[in-house]
């Protein structure tokens, strides 16, 4: 790990979390909570960023039904009730 303080920033975490992680890393190769936290964060940062599905694809399954306006839906439901289907 670099010693040059200009390359480092300080992160704050809750004290109880720091103490818990200190216990976890006992007997492991990590010499400090800082070293462990740096390792975990580097690993997370290296994973590919998930791409959310395009808005059209998300909406597609309901698109056909949703193309009706509220008025059309209301009219359809009214007729279906009058005819006894609903």
């Amino acid at each position: 790990m670099p010693n040059n303080s200009s390359e480092m920033v300080t992160l704050k975490i809750p004290r109880h979390l720091y103490q818990r992680v200190s216990q976890l890393i006992e007997g492991t190769g990590f010499r400090s909570v800082t070293e462990f936290a740096t390792y975990v964060l580097r690993d997370l940062a290296a994973q590919p960023r998930p791409v959310p599905p395009a808005p059209e694809k998300r909406a597609a399954p309901k698109r056909a039904a949703a193309r009706m306006t509220q008025a059309e839906l209301k009219a359809a439901r009214k007729r279906l009730r009058e005819l006894g289907y609903l």
Binding site: A64, A65, R67, M68, E72, R77, L83, L86
Partner: protein
């Protein structure tokens, strides 16, 4: 919910001020009366049952459908939906003209934006679409009865054709889609018929229902040939059958207003695509679907689906072989699931069944439900008296 064919449920109805304006303007337009098939097609185009069609076919779509079973834009479509001229004046109408489409009472139901006027070869259309030019075929007879000048273009529906029958059962695609969604159905199998439902048909439907959430029994009630059983008799059969033998919360009965083309395989594709527009995900295809006489092979209507990429059809066909009651199996079966000889199978010819009904004799319950047979017997008695 399954997407309509082409991705969008077409709506060509006009309302409010647009309807009033168009109705006024139609009074001064050339008038073109529609025959029964065209009336049904008009309503189905306007309500989205024939999505993606927005009108009667133009020349490009007509030839593409006849030759390739696809619209000019590549979407699958197997039967031309066309409007024929009714007079020499109509045969001279120019593209760009608006034409009032009327019913047999002269009421203007819709306006056609005439885009194309074109001449066709009915023999060629018959050969390609019906696979015959035999004048005994009812579809060929229809072609011979209409002009070979077709008029194509978008339509605007101001007024639905007047219906006096099956009013309780006339659901449009928007309504069936809302109904299926309200019932929580994701998978819906449609059953098309122009006949009463006998045990074999019931078996197919119930096999399908085991795989899906709901069943749409969608009998065709448009124009049929004279010796087909009238729609009002058939509807009573369907009502009685559903009341006694079907789970009410799993079945919807609604009418399919189209005219019958008797085009066998091509009509199976046509029927499937239209049911997709009604919101169905599956379509039951039995033996000789939409067939007549011996014009089509027993399972040609199954094979034709193989000519398309399933994604291009999107509604899943459920193919069934010839079904019957097998005494040895002790249940309904098909040639796929029954290993026994024909002696064990309760199979009756249409001629024999009609003879039994005409004589007031109930066919065996393995062939048809007694409630259905009783309605058919009474119907034949009324016919004899007339």
């Amino acid at each position: 919910m399954i997407s309509p064919h082409g991705g969008r449920l077409i709506d060509r109805t006009v309302s409010g001020e647009d309807r009033e304006r168009l109705t006024r303007e139609a009074e001064h337009m050339p008038k073109l009366p529609l025959n029964q098939r065209e009336l049904a097609d008009l309503e189905m185009i306007a309500t989205g049952a024939m999505s993606p069609l927005t009108g009667f076919m133009t020349e490009a779509d007509y030839h593409s459908v006849v030759d390739t079973m696809r619209l000019a834009n590549g979407l699958v479509w197997s039967i031309p939906v066309v409007l024929s001229a009714k007079s020499p004046e109509h045969e001279r109408l120019q593209p760009g003209t608006q034409v009032a489409l009327t019913d047999d009472a002269g009421r203007a139901l819709a306006v056609l934006d005439l885009a194309d006027r074109y001449q066709v070869d009915h023999d060629y259309e018959g050969q390609m679409v019906l696979r015959t030019t035999d004048e005994a075929h009812p579809g060929v007879q229809y072609l011979k009865s209409i002009s070979s000048i077709y008029l194509g273009g978008n339509i605007h529906l101001m007024r639905h054709p007047e219906h006096r029958d099956f009013l309780r059962y006339r659901l449009e695609p928007k309504e069936t889609r809302v109904l299926f969604a309200a019932k929580g159905w994701n998978r819906i199998a449609a059953f098309q018929t122009r006949n009463p439902i006998h045990r074999a048909h019931e078996y197919l439907q119930k096999c399908a229902l085991e795989q899906v959430d709901g069943l749409l029994i969608h009998p065709l009630v448009g124009e049929t040939k004279k010796d087909d059983i009238p729609a009002e008799v058939r509807m009573r059969c369907y009502e009685e059958l559903i009341a006694h033998y079907y789970p009410r919360d799993r079945v919807v009965l609604s009418v399919f207003p189209a005219a019958m083309r008797y085009a066998g395989p091509r009509e199976a594709i046509f029927h499937a695509l239209i049911r997709k527009n009604y919101g169905c995900t599956h379509f039951i295809v039995g033996r000789d679907h939409a067939g007549v006489g011996d014009y089509y092979g027993t399972y040609e209507a199954h094979a034709i689906f193989g000519e398309f990429d399933p994604e291009d059809i999107a509604i899943a066909p459920l193919f069934f072989d010839h079904a019957f009651y097998c005494r040895k199996c002790g249940n309904m079966a098909t040639t796929k699931t029954c290993p026994h000889s024909s002696e064990e199978r309760a199979i009756f010819s249409g001629t024999r069944v009609r003879q039994m009904l005409a004589e007031g004799e109930l066919p065996p319950p393995e062939f048809t439900r007694p409630e259905v047979a009783q309605i058919l017997i009474e119907s034949m008695r009324r016919e004899d008296k007339q």
